[in-house]
Every structure is written in C-alpha cells, then in structure tokens.
C-alpha cells in the first residue's frame, strides 16, 4: 500500500516536473540509462551536476561584480553552465542561460544580472524538487520510469 502510494506520488511529482517545464526529454534519456547495475544513476548525475555547477555559479557571481563587465568571459562561463544544465534536462535553467547569453551578446549588463538572478532561482527550485523526488523514489523502490506526456 505504502509502496504503491509512494510510487504514485513519485510518478505524480515527475509528471508535474515535466508539465511545469522544469525538466525535458534529456531527463528521460538519463532515466533510461538507469539499470540494475546503476539503480541510482540519475540521482548521482544530478548530484554531480549541482556540485560542479555551483563552482560555475560562483564564477559568474564574481564576474558579474566586476566593473566593467567582461561579457566574453561571462558568455564563456555561461556556455559551460548551459551545456551542463542541458545534459541533465534542466529546462527552465537552460532557458535562462540562453537569455543570459543573449544579454551578453548585446552587452546588456543589467539584463545579464537580472537573468542571472532568475536563473539562480530556477536552479534552486529545481534542486529542491529533485531532492524530494529522489527521496521518494528511493523509498518507493525501483519502478518504471514514467514518461512525461508528449
């Protein structure tokens, strides 16, 4: 009972994550890679992502504090960050990264800062949601991956 309930909960969370645009297809790809040999593969990857990207975020923070802004450098760091985020399927985060890069391209410092703040918000939100998701998933035990509605 509990298990079923947990599983349903997990499925619901995942469903909503996709519905609300937090995650995209790439996340499914990761889940498909998960198997008995690596039962927590997705969680490991996400953990690795958050660990590594925090470094990039602090780099961006520092770079944004400088005056004048070095847009090329900002763009380079963000390019890296975007690549990383897209590889785990972090859709909203990725969108903000694209926006940020566009501001870099047009040398819009204020725009960069704004979009960076927004991106950090999305980044933090996603993290919390995924943590909940993984926790529940572990409790529920191995289950089929639920595909988001296409």
């Amino acid at each position: 009972m509990d298990k079923t309930h947990s599983r349903r909960q997990v499925a619901a969370i995942k469903h909503s994550l996709f519905d609300q645009g937090y995650l995209d297809e790439q996340f499914i790809q990761l889940e498909e890679l998960q198997d008995d040999a690596n039962p927590n593969f997705v969680e490991e990857i996400v953990t690795l992502y958050y660990r590594d990207s925090s470094r990039l975020i602090s780099n961006l923070d520092h770079a944004l504090e400088r005056n004048p802004l070095d847009f090329n450098k900002l763009d380079t760091i963000m390019h890296q960050f975007k690549g990383s985020s897209s590889s785990i399927g972090a859709k909203k985060v990725k969108a903000e990264c694209t926006l940020f890069r566009e501001y870099c391209r047009t040398r819009n410092g204020e725009g960069c800062r704004r979009s960076f703040q927004q991106m950090k918000k999305e980044y933090a939100t996603l993290r919390k949601k995924l943590e909940t998701y993984f926790q529940l998933a572990r409790q529920a035990g191995p289950q089929e991956t639920a595909f988001p509605p296409k």
Partner: protein, 679 residues
Amino acid sequence: MNLSNGKGSMSTVTTTAVMKSGDAVSDQFPAGLRVLVVDDDPTCLMILEKMLRTCLYEVTKCNRAESALSLLRENKNGFDIVISDVHMPDMNGFKLLEHIGLEMDLPVIMMSADECKSVVMKGVTHGACDYLIKPVRIEALKNIWQHVVRKKKNEWKDAEQSGSAEEGDRQPKASDEADYSSSANEGSWRNSKKRRDEEEEAEDRDDTSTLKKPRVVWSVELHQQFVAAVDQLGIDKAVPKKILELMNVPGLTRENVASHLQKYRLYLRRLSGVSQHQNNLNNSFLGSQEATFGTISSINGIDLQTLAVTGQLPAQSLATLQAAGLGRSTAKTGVPMPLMDQRNLFSFENPRVRFGEGQQQHLSSSKPMNLLLGIPTNMEPKQLANLHQSTQSIAGLNMRVNASATQGNPLMMQMPQSQPRGQMLSEKTGPRVPRLPSSLGQPTVSNGISNGFLGRNGIAGNNRGTAYNPVPPNSSLLSFPMNQSSEVSVNNSLPLGSSPGISSITTKGSFQEEVTSGIKASGGFPSYDIFNELHHQKSHDWEITNPGLTYGASHHANPLQGNIDVSPSVLVHQGFSSTQQTGQTRDATLIGKAMFSLGEGSEQDNLQNAVQHLHPLLVDNSIRVKAERIPDASSQTNLFPDHYVQEDLMSALLKQQEGMGPAESEFEFDAYSLDNIPV
C-alpha cells in the same frame, strides 16, 4: 563503388553477421569499440560514459585534452575513435582534433552545446568526422562505429589499389588523375575497376585486420623522406604510389602513404590559409606526421621546440635535429649557424619551399633569430661570410629540406646566380631539413608563411627581387608566387636591412641570395652582386628571419637558438623587404632597419637577447647594421628610399598574410607592426 556491396545490409549495430561479409572486425562489432571521450564537464562526461557503455562500447574517459593526448600516444592502437568537446580549458578542441588526426589518424567526433554553423564548419574543416550537439542523445552515439568503419575502408581502398588513385577521394576524378602523372593516369580510369576487384579481395582477406590495422608511426625520418619524395614529385603530382616508390621504405604501404599525404595536403592547405601561423605549422602539422618536416624546421629551433612540446617530435629527434642543424651550422660559423639552423628549419617549414634554401643560408640563426634580429644581421660582413658558410651548412640543412625534394639542387639551380648559395644549399641538404621538402612540395603552405619568408628570401636574397621566385623546384616555392612578387621585394628588403654590414643579419640574407639566384630573380638584382657578397649571407639571415616564418619559429622559442621572439616585428620587417626590390643592399639595410626597429619591441629585446645570447656577433651586427646601413651608401643608398618601399612591402606582406588566412597564432602581425617600424 562497390564499397557498400558487401555491407549493404549492415544497417544495424548488431548485424554482426552482415558485418562479417563486409569488413567486420569481429562478430561483436561494433560492440567492444574502444572509445576515448574527452570533456572537461564532469556531468557530461559521466553521462556520455554511461551511454557509451550502454552501447556496449569500451569507454575511457578523460577530462583534460593533454591527458587524452598522452593516453593516445601511449596506446597508439588502443582506441578506435575519439569523442571530444570543443570548449575545454587547457586546449582547444580543434587543436586536439588536429593533433589526433596527424599523429594517430583516428576518427574524431566533436561535440558542443554550441550549434552555431561556424563552429560546426570549423569542426568539419579541421577534420572531424562528425559533430554532435549537446545534450547528446544515446541514439547519436549508437552509430559512431560507422566512422571507424568508413575510415578503415578508405585506408583499405588505398592500400589495395596500388596503381589506382592514391586516395579514395581521388578516384572519382579520373580525368584529373590523368594530369597527375603517368602512374596516376593509368590508375584513374582503371582504378575504379581495379578498386572494386581489389576491395572485394581485400575484404575477404582482411576481415579481422580491417579495423585494427597497425598504425604506421610517421617518425621524423620517415616524414622527411615523405616530404622529400613529395617535393621531388611536386605536390600536385605526388601520387601515393610514386611517393612510396621514392621513399622505398620496406613495410610501408601505399595506403599509409595515401592517408599521410591526405593529411599533409590538408595541412598545407591550412597553412596557406592561415598565413603565417607558423606555430600552426609547427604545432599542428608537426605533430606526428609533420614531425619530420616539422623537425627540420624545428631544428631551426622554434619548431623543434614546438614539436617537442607538442610531444610530436620525440625529444630525441628534436635533439638530433637540433644538433644536426646546429652542429652543422655551428661548425661553420659557430654562432650564426645555430641561429640559422633554427631559422632555417623554421623558416623552412613555413616557407617550406625555398625557404629551406634561403634559410639555410640564413645561417643557423633559424628564422626566429633572423626575424628577431630584425636587427639586421648583426653579424658583420665577416660574419656574414661565416654565416654564409654556416648557412651553407645550414642551407645544406635547409636546403635539404628543399633539396630533399629536389635534392636541394633545384633551389640551387634556380638560383643560378647565387653561386655561393648554391653551394650552401647543396651542402646541407642534409637530412635535417625534412621540412624543406615538405615546404617545397607545398607551395600553398609556404604561402602563408613562406610567403613572408620566401618572399623575403626571394626578394632579399635574390636580388631581391628575382631571387625569390617561389618557383621552387619542389613546388613549395611555387606557392610563394604571390609572395614572390610582393615578397620578393620583401626579401630584398630584408637583406638590405642587413645591409652589407649586416651580413649576419639573417641567414636569410644569404638565403636571399640563393633565393634570388634560384628563384629567378624576380626583381632585378641590381645590387645583387653586391648583395651577394655582402648580404649574401645576410640576406639569408633575412630570409630566414622572415618575420612571418621565423615568427612562428621564434615564437616557439627556438630551443636552439634561444628563442628569439621574432614575432611580428620581424615580419613586418620582412614585409618591408619585399617592397624593397631595389637593391639588395637596400633591402638589407631596410630590413635591417625594419627588423631592428621592429626589434624595438619586446620581441626584439628577446630577439636581441636571444641573439646576443647566441650570436653575440649578430647582435652587434644588428646594431651595427643600423648604423652601417646608413653609411653603406653604396649598397644602402637605397636605404632611405627603400624606406617607403619597406612600408609597401610590409603592407604587401601584411596583405598576403591576411590573404592567407587568419593567422591564429602568434604570428599576428597586424598592420600595427608596420607602424612600429620606424622608417
């Protein structure tokens, strides 16, 4: 082609049976495919690894390009394919791609979150066999085995068709082949037929070896031989079969030569497009394959270093080359030689063509030196003489490069006038200059660099005008044609710079002489005689110092020479020489001036220091040159008038460089350098 015949059904990864009929290596192919994945992003790296494992490939992951390269070098046959990210902190993905292509000849797939067309295009031009956009999907990875098969197939085809077109991509050009050479002719239309037959036979024969052919390591010597053969045949007529025959290396197959030739051509093309990026030349090209000729140039000092650094040139070879270059030169002139060697070598590489010749003359002061020396050969006339000698030896070396292709004589021949040079050239055609031949054979390549250089040499040396006709016997010089006209003057200018007093300025000067003679004195050699004597050596120096050429070399910090950072200043300098077609002396003086003035910059300091370090004489000369230049009314009267010439040269030179393509590396001597030249 029947290539697909046997493998028509190989549509799925798991059709091993089908593969067998084709050129499947084993029953499980593509399972077990050994993939090396390089990406600095740990998240992506881990995901890729998992995906590739799921495809049943054998994965090795690496987060740094350098370690990936060393991994590949240590296990030459340990991997089947490489997947690399474009943006990495320690090394540009494209650079890695080039290295791998040259050294190991493995298929490389690039990937990036960047999907803009220009980057993808860059990947293609650098030789990537595929480009994936991140985030990468597993479906995209499932099919990467096709690249391995394709590559093997191509190599196979080449190997099988002894008489056919050397490269797979040549085959369709039956008519073109006819133009290549008789052997090519015979193969062109027959190739396709033969090929089909051969392919089928080959397939039957080589089931297991198709994908796991032992790789030929293109050592320095081997590459030198290769370049020599290519030069001899002429880059346009160089057919793998003939090259193979010329090289006469047991165990070397036509396919090895064919694929090497392909890379070489690509390299040359890139060189010409990159204009002066000597570094590129040295670096990328020098890698595995180019090592041989890279070495030669490296001997110049710069290249060697580069090579050594890039790991392409085994330390030993480097040392050998350097020693050879230096030894010879040093023997002769002592100081100058080393410089020349470096330069020569270096310049050799760049100009490939004539440069070798001229370069050698340049004296040991490998290009970098010369260039740096901008300071017109500090060497005094005596030194010049020495240089001359040394250059001779160097020339021999350099020449070798050139000569190797044509036996150095071509260069010499070209310069009927330059008697002394001829000697020099022929002398050293030594083995060292593997580069030269390559350069010779690569007219285009030289264009980039040699243009500056050759142009200079030709100009400077030749009579500062004619001398440098790029008409390299090996064709490397040919590439210079553009340079020649403009460059030629450049060379002249260079030698002029060195002006009589500057004999040592650059072996280039000497080179110039030779160049002029050989090259066909593009301009008049009014002062040729004078120049010959005086600048003869100097011009070589000049030549050698071709800023463009040496630039790269110097840039690489000629180990030999003490890394004269010739850098752009030199180039500029050279540029000017080209314009100075007028008296050689003038050029020399001008060049000297230019160089000297250029040297004003940091580079010069380096150069100067380096030069001083290496060639106390040279350094002195440079200074002296300046002073002398002016006084050398006879030879340098033109100095002043040449002044503008120089500028013209510079612009010409610059233009050329620009034309050549973006000089990525150091050799970026922009117009700004011209400005620096105090005229």
